[in-house]
């Protein structure tokens, strides 16, 4: 029944168990030094040199409206493909790659905070926990809309 299962790359952000389709993931790497981008939207943490490829780092905590990471906690990079460029999602911890059955899928539960709800596609009801599937397209997309100017005004 391979057609009904997906492999998800899972990771943790704050209290959330998140996952994205492994096929979207280019690679997972440790914390990298970044070059900050002044005037950029808040969620953009900086730019990373990934073997000559310049990758935009996007902090999922900020993107999902969660509390910022502690000073000494270094995030991990989940690099996903985004057209020509790569985007690195900064997460707290990397989990396993899990195989999920489509039958366990459900749309986002109403209890999920509204900041997060728009950005997840739904949840897989695993035996021990809920695994939320991140809508990567949206996570990367709506970042555009919030221009630097707006961010500046907001801050």
């Amino acid at each position: 029944m391979k057609t009904h299962t997906h492999q998800l790359c899972t990771f943790h952000v704050d209290q959330l168990n998140l996952g994205i389709n492994v096929q979207q993931v280019q690679e997972v790497i440790r914390y990298q030094k970044m070059t900050r981008v002044p005037l950029a939207p808040d969620a953009i943490s900086g730019l990373i040199n990934l073997r000559g490829q310049i990758v935009t780092a996007l902090d999922l905590r900020c993107r999902l409206g969660l509390a910022p990471r502690g000073e000494n906690e270094l995030p991990m990079n989940v690099v996903v493909r985004d057209g020509e460029n790569g985007v690195s999602l900064l997460v707290d911890r990397i989990g396993d790659v899990v195989e999920v059955d489509d039958e366990l899928f459900e749309p986002p539960p109403a209890t999920v905070h509204k900041n997060v709800r728009g950005l997840i596609r739904g949840a897989y009801k695993l035996s021990d926990r809920l695994l939320l599937v991140l809508d990567t397209a949206r996570v990367l997309d709506e970042c555009d809309a919030r221009s630097g100017t707006e961010a500046r005004l907001a801050s």
Binding site: K33, M34, T35, R36, V37, P38, L39, A40, P41, I44, G46, L47, I48, N49, G52, I54, V55, T56, L58, D82, G83, E84, N85, G86, V87, L140, C143, D144, S147, G148, R152, S155
Partner: protein, 895 residues
Amino acid sequence: MELADKELIAEFVVESQEGLAKVENQMLAIEAAGANIDGDLVNAVFRTMHSIKGTAGFLGLARIGTLAHGLEEVLNNLRNREVVPTSELVTSVLRAADFMKGLIDAVETSGDADIEPFVAELQQFRPGAETAPSPTATIEPPVAAAAVQLSEAVREFLVECRDNLDQMEHDLVALEAAPESEPLLRNIFRTIHTVKGGAGFLGLSALERLAHVAENLLSKLRDGQRPFNPPTASILLTTVDKCREGLSLVEAQGSDNGFDPQAVVQQLLELEISGAPSPAGAAPAASPASTAPPTPPPASAPAVTAPTAPAKAPVAAAPTADSPDKGHSAPADTTIRVDVALLDKLMTRVGELVLARNQILQHTSNLEDSAFVSTAQRLNLITTELQESVMKTRMQPIGNVWAKFPRVVRDLASQLGKQVRIEMEGKETELDKTIVEAIKDPLTHLVRNSVDHGIETPEKRVAAGKPAEGVLSLRAFHEGGQVNIEINDDGAGLNIERIRRKAVERGLVSADQATRMTDREVSQLIMLPGFSTAEQVTSVSGRGVGMDVVKTNIERIGGMIDLQSRPGSGTTVKIKIPLTLAIIPALVVTSDGDRYAIPQVSLLELVRLEGEQVERGIEYVHGAPVHRLRGKLLPLLYLAEQLDPTKKAAFGTEAAGSCQADQVVNIVVLRANDRQFGLVVDKVNDTEEIVVKPLGRQLKNLGEYAGATIMGDGTVALILDVMGLAVSSGLAGEMRDQTIAGGINSEVKASDESQSLLIVDLGDARRFALPTSMVSRLEKAQSSAVEYADGREVIQYRGAILPLVRLGQVFGASTDGDKQPDELQIVVYAEQGRSYGLVVNRIVDVVDTQLGFDPQARMDDNLLGTTVIQQRVTDVLNLRNLARHAAGARRVFAN
């Protein structure tokens, strides 16, 4: 044999196309050499055909094989000097080769193609009348045309016709330049004849009729019964377009139902009758050709080739047999086809190599290992060479863009009733593919502009003592690592007065400014947004894409545009653009701990202020920092502040300025548009070749950055967009003033007009000036004398009420409101019949000076501008606007 191996076929296609691409030039050279046959050249073409024939036979592509065989035979005859390469022969060969190209492009369907006309045409050039036996047994006999599926035949017809029409269009434009050229005329004739034949064969009667009428006209031209003149060319070009229209219709619906060429047919007929002395005589000449549609060997061919095609001994088979060996050893194929995407990838890799090289070089500067250092040096050299070579692979000649201009110019000129000749120099000048793409539209616009606005009508030209025909010349050349393109016309030049008038009408400059600008400055005005001088909006220009768009597009790729007009004798537009955009030299600076790259094209100079210079070198115009660079005011931007607006307080204020006394100030003088400004950075590091990488879409709308790059140490650095910085800082909004201000400065300096100015101050560093001619009196008054009218400060003065304007309040002086001096210093001035009192701190001086101020430094409505008086930056007050501060008192008071 089955069409089994796709890879083999793909290889065959690429190989054959390459060979065929060269055949064209080779055949033209053969034609040029005439009877003096160059054996090597003929052999080269022969070999191309031979290997196509062989491979096609092997792959079971019968039609291609047969056609190649026909061509091979003709070439063999040529090689054996049994026939002479007449232009007919060459044309037939080229046509057959073109058709073959089409077949090879659509190799899967080539089996259905109708190659008979071509084979028949080629057979005319045999020395003997009999068909020689096929030397290669693998060639299958051609399948009868009747078996061809109609839709395939139509498709082939469409492909062929389009190619032919493109060629015909080209030929027509060329013919107009050289009306005497018989080969061109014959080519055109033959093309239309083929269209007619094909259309007739496929039952496309409307198209056939159009082609037939055009052919009749052409036959008269060919026979010299009619001169070839521009109206004729226009109608024939219209015919070409109409034919294309018909073809599109055929393509869409499989027939030419609904295709109505009647209007064009009528024009052709009229022209044919009107100009022909004996129309009856010409008709029979053309009709034999038109009655044999399926096989279109041109009617003219036998007559012309007769003397050069004597019956000789049949072709010997021996030379054919030994040719393959020669074919493989010959250095015929020196080029290969490469996918553009692969080149892009290669470029990216080289970019990374450049970065790695930079990194290594940075390391070696700290090393003493001489072996390693010298290896690094070699790596450096090789990388640079590799980078240059790879860059070259992406280069394209500018001629690719120019190729369409002759037709553009021709159509436009005839539409406007003008005569224009186009000249091109430096077609082979190469630039990067991406840049070629980027300049296509701007160049087209400039060319159209020159024909539309530049070159006059023949009558006007003759009246001005110029030849009736205008010349538009395009020139391209490399200079200083940049490509220069010049578009020059010998037209009337710009109408400076009209531009001046228009600019004032459109509110781009004030009437006063306009009169003071030099002609050259006025001519630059046409590149401002919202400017169009066309008295009427023509279909040609005046459609919204003005010179400003051209300018913006050129500048977007780091180019510059300059315009020079010589009244009565023409206009020249000069464009300078970089060779490539992928790797650029840049200045690396540090601001707030981060490094940024600034593209060197925008860099003018570096200024470093140390110690005392800092305090003296940075002055403030109403709070805005400026630096006096060789007598001109250079507005300053603090990069750290631009990138972090919350730091506003820390930079670029007088308070901050004073505590910078012990620091070093680095000013990077930049150019954005025509404006200069100084960017203050913490540190100027170095210049470096950087590889430009685009930013991800999440950051695309940050105008301050042009991209990012990877530095020698592997960290990412942002590339600043100088233009974007100017825009976001608000400097760009004043760009217009700057362009003009430059003009006013020079104009005023040139004049001897000096003015008497009253200098006042507010008790701080700032000084203000106002013309003494406006000042009625200088008065002093006790603060206690100040009364209020309608909430505004007034005093009683000479029996009337004088509204007061406190300069300190207007400009936010540091003098505290609650600690006012007992005695007020008042400058009384009249503005529009009313008097006002300007309260100042101190009257400093009265000076006579030439008032050459910089409106671009204007930050405030209450200032006219800023100037340097007695070596000090001084703001010139706008007394009229200041009077409005007392506006509330107007109702009460009228003097």
